[in-house]
Symmetry: D2
């Protein structure tokens, strides 16, 4: 399978390295070409344009920061160059509406379209330990199994709707945002009764919530180490807007998501946009008269 | 240590059995005496009145359903019979205001007071695997270590405020309620995009949320098996009111808790009070036009 | 019609004065007797006990601060002294559950029961310009028309359920709380774009919202004159709890009421409990990084 | 003052008619030219293109449905044709971000820019009874006084920020949406206690809320006449998104706005998008188990 790979950010680099290491015929493209140096040494071709990265490829993977970057790549050569029957698979986090519109464009052009957002961070991507959530063209998803095996630990088939794959990724992030908000409120409540944050953190993560979501963010909150940024307020807020847009597109009220989104806005209003998003706990503490 | 134990519901029975098995000198009391039969065979004395269960005891544990039941026991003989310097330790889930008021009464009477709500269900209590959250009199908590070791897996010291112990328990339940609400919204969202609930459940519980809270309730939601009741809507709602009352007592806004409480009210309005509280997912599905 | 009147606070005084001025045969009772001096001069009898204020009366009106005060009067002589067929009409703001329970007690005792909360402040009560919302026994309500005419500008018949009358009063207050919260958010939003608060206030109250609710509280917010207290945060919060309790009793989710209640809690957490409840606008401004 | 007027929808027609009636030198443009027939008879010139409607004009008013339509007009000739020093005044409801971006474009081009959204419906516009909220270039606003006098009853100066004018309009609509939501909850609550909706409506609109917002929508709710559409759910939802976007742009959490927006989403999910937005009351009734 001949693969084009567009977008060599931290995630894209980790993923394209795994593909070239596994022996796939790979052409890569990035706006700033230097990022491709190591891949080139390993045998990947480096394209000088989007079109060159798409021409004659069976599959083009895009790993881009947002809808805007994706649209620029699609309109900047991908859509017009990709061969009939070839597959485009965006693996970044995109809005359901962008993916739905893109599906129509690819359908009209005779391309197969699969959205496949990923779960995990760059280190997990480098280790092939990310989760992948493909949604879209059934035949394409079947053919892509070797790619999924190379890139990730597990693929979760979201069905035939590419927007469904995005919804899974966004819903997962939403559940995380709600968990952080709930912790933020819970720490404020227990602090007001004199409970040491470390104690509450231990209670929380000892039983029902003995999992990374709570351990990671509960720990940051208990230590108030919001400057060790796992996921910044600004990024969380960006995601919250994609979540809102998904709820809007599907007519699903998301009252819990509204709550944590408002707490993020409150953090932004206080100049905390570059801190870890668990700084929601400081927002809730302030609201409770604690800070 | 001579112990009185009042309240032989499912939790109380499991806990008092552990105490008598461990060789503690135990007097038990329950409104319906039959529940004490097995304990009596094992060597526990069965008191005919609350006063009898408190007289000459170093420690009286109460394990009662709610504030009302606790007040009846306190006013019905406990407060007037307990010796100076003896300890009263309620281990049920009570309101912060009830515990604060009770602390004052015990202080005035020269008793030591420790609130020690527990985390876990009757089977965990029978196996000595519950978590215990003591809060209150420091000397008493130190003396109670052998009791905590007998009853539970681990004790988390909430500090000197008995209401703080209740706050920990309630905050933990609040975080759980918020998690179920978040899942409820997330399942509705992904369903609307055609994602099979089982797939979303696997995504959710595979990584960030690989812990009992999500596995148990995610599983029920994915299967819509709300009649397998782990924790009924009615009980969850009762807890949500205790949570609200704690927030009120400490002036802590709890917007996430409001959200899941409203979803529980909506379940109650639809006659779903006896189903598992993860039926919140059905409420959210209805709100999204799915049912 | 022989009337007993219990509770001579500011509202009670204004109302009982109208009754005696209109020539009703009136016996009044208040815990602190001095409040009754002026009424006595006008010809009202002053009772030395609750029982004395109820004995032989066709109607006993209670105008008390809360459920607790009402229960003390009911249990302290009213229920046992009131004649069969006589009417008890509480006109304070009470919880739906207290009124429902009280109705059962009066039914059992053969009394007629009408809850009749009022809309308006002491000056309106003195001028006979309050609104009255009677709910309960149909025959009694019919008989009470002359009383309503004397006390208020208009009576709104809430139906045969006394709790319904309370629900009307509480729902009206809820709509007001929501209006103040909405203004609080709206002023914060427009301020952030450099709009002078006075200008926004004029826009708001010029057209769609040209009514007292917006004029009074919009004016206070625009001037930040929260120390001119029309309705204190503490009282608003007390009402918000009665509203919550009504929603709970009837299984009605009230998400908007939760929002303004949380804003009041945030005000309480910042020591603003004695300010006018439109200080919600300051809470919202703080959350927006404005103060 | 030579005026160009672009956009002859119901509002635009009413407004341009007033301008030509008042003797202004008017060139109008609309995509479908027929709408301009009556204006032409009265002496207005009808332009064949956007550019023609802008050329040599001192002021160009645009009255367009949304940001997209505005951008098409701006890019389709307005920006490139308008003379230096001339004024562009959009009077539709636009997002704060679109207006902020447009201000920059006009600044760069040497144009004066004033956003001036209006309050009121087509019949009020025809009668010159709308409110106008200008924000932007101070000199331009001063010069525009005769235009404001012709078009409306009153102008409210929002300051020098065009986005501020939009914020005022959106905040006003937000307060209205919150009022409808509050009524929706209040009617559900009182209905559950057996109170006839007409009675609650009378209580509500008799005193504190004796203003159009409550009278109009309270009446529709009491009669459940949601098919008499004053303002459709779909339009309300569109506005709610502009409100959210304004809150986002200025970092202002808007929890009340979230609540009514979710209720609108729930209406959309139930196929009620074309009904009057006070159908929120039916959503709330459903949530309460009433329908």
């Amino acid at each position: 399978m001949k693969i084009g790979f567009i977008g060599l950010g931290r995630m894209g680099l980790a993923m394209s390295n795994r593909l070239v290491d596994a022996g796939f015929d790979l052409v890569v493209y990035n706006r700033t070409r230097e990022k491709a140096a190591e891949l080139e040494k390993k045998g990947a071709k480096v394209a000088g344009s989007i079109a060159e990265a798409c021409k004659g490829r069976d599959l083009v993977i895009t790993m881009l920061a947002d809808d805007k970057a994706l649209a620029e790549v699609v309109d900047g050569g991908l859509l017009s160059t990709l061969a009939k029957g070839a597959i485009h698979m965006p693996m970044g986090t995109h809005s359901v509406t962008a993916l739905t519109a893109l599906k129509e464009q690819h359908d009209a052009a005779g391309h197969a379209f699969v959205a496949a957002p990923v779960l995990g961070r760059p280190d997990a991507a480098a280790a092939g330990q990310i989760g992948i959530v493909p949604g879209g063209n059934r035949d394409a998803i079947a053919k892509l199994e070797p790619v999924f095996k190379t890139l990730g630990r597990r693929a979760f088939d979201a069905g035939e709707n590419p927007a469904g794959a995005a919804a899974v990724k966004l819903a997962n992030n939403m559940v995380l945002g709600c968990a952080v908000e709930a912790m933020a409120e819970a720490f404020a409540l227990t602090r007001k009764f004199g409970v040491p944050p470390q104690v509450f953190n231990e209670v929380l993560t000892d039983g029902l919530f003995a999992c990374p979501a709570y351990k990671v963010y509960g720990g940051i909150i208990a230590n108030e180490s919001y400057d060790k940024v796992g996921f910044a307020v600004k990024l969380g807020f960006k995601d919250s807007n994609l979540i809102m847009a998904a709820g809007q597109a599907a007519s699903v009220p998301l009252p819990s998501a509204n709550v944590f989104r408002d707490t993020l806005i409150e953090a932004l209003a206080h100049g905390e946009g570059d801190l870890d998003w668990s700084v929601m706990a400081r927002v809730r503490a302030r609201a409770s008269g604690l800070e």
